[in-house]
Symmetry: C2
């Protein structure tokens, strides 16, 4: 669809949607045509929500997660274990861990991962702020919950160096065979690590 | 991601994107996070474009296509063949036909297709307006360029009945093997029709 749009408004709207990641011009066109069929009030709300999002969203001054208040609900909560900080890349990861209902500590959102290829260095992340939180005291354990990629490993290594002077436990997520995985199709590094780090068998394995 | 959003603004924005067709909650979240990383001015423009689209878009009073003016560029053009009207379902189809650069007549956008299952009857479409255009005179040919589905065939049949009292040629798009198609995988009805309606061979077949 190289087009020849019959309307400038239409063309602009399609261009805006097509500028989003993973949305091509055909999909953008389909979305715009859908919006045109919707109620005017609904579409107005859509546009307003998008503008409000960017202008009004806050970041928590403690963990750097997204929040509606200067300190987010988790950091401000009295019922969380303040001695553990789980270090994650993004807000999505906070939500993923929260959804497991297995963790009652705090978080620290790095805002990315060290990746020289993408030009992201330690100073682009919130690592200084993490060290600050550790220096203030009360933290006994840092869980490094980053992607199990080369960039994740680099970032883990960098953080462990930065925090090596403090008296705390550094842990990472257990690596092993995912629940529901078929052994035949599990990659050999994961399978190898899961044999080396084998655990005592219980009938509760993986359930809670 | 059933979540537990850390921010109402975030949740609202994700809900808005997830309300679009073909966009699930994970994709919606990814799009919202992308917008948060973009320039504030860019995101504002995105929101404004969406609101303007719905509020300001016009429909051409002649062909019912989308237009920025009361009469669209094609209907208002002096260089188009006004004796042929190509009947299509949607603006996308107008653009698809225009992109072929093989057609110099006018269009008529039905705004859908007769589909009892979806509760769309003839009165929901712009068929009255099409008959009006024919009654005004000057139209020698109507090309029915609808989907080759049951609904398309029903709509073609209905329109042909409505226009049966007028002196004009009713045509449909040629059906046959698409260029680039492998015969083995062409459905038998299409292949059958393309044998029945076989054409004299020329060395220009399908190219222009």
């Amino acid at each position: 669809m190289s087009a020849n749009f019959p309307s400038k408004l239409l063309e602009e709207a399609v261009n805006e949607f097509a500028s989003l990641p993973g949305i091509g011009r055909k999909t953008a066109f389909r979305l715009v045509m859908h919006l045109l069929r919707r109620d005017s009030a609904e579409v107005r709300r859509f546009g307003e929500t998008v503008m409000k999002l960017r202008d009004e969203v806050c970041y928590c001054s403690v963990c750097h997660g997204i929040s509606d208040t200067p300190v987010c609900g988790i950091c401000g909560s009295g019922s969380r274990d303040r001695s553990i900080i789980c270090v994650v890349e993004s807000v999505q990861d906070v939500m993923a861990v929260e959804n497991t209902r297995q963790y009652r500590g705090l978080y620290h959102v790095l805002g990315g991962i060290i990746s020289p290829v993408d030009g992201i260095g330690p100073s682009d992340l919130t690592i200084n702020s993490l060290e600050e939180r550790v220096r203030e005291g009360g933290v006994e354990e840092i869980i490094l919950a980053l992607s199990t990629t080369m960039e994740g490993d680099t970032t883990n290594f960098y953080i462990s160096k930065r925090l090596s002077g403090y008296d705390l436990r550094l842990t990472t997520l257990a690596r092993g065979v995912a629940i529901g995985d078929v052994l035949e199709y599990t990659d050999e590094i994961t399978l190898g690590q899961s044999i080396v780090n084998r655990q005592p068998f219980t009938t509760q394995q993986g359930r809670s």
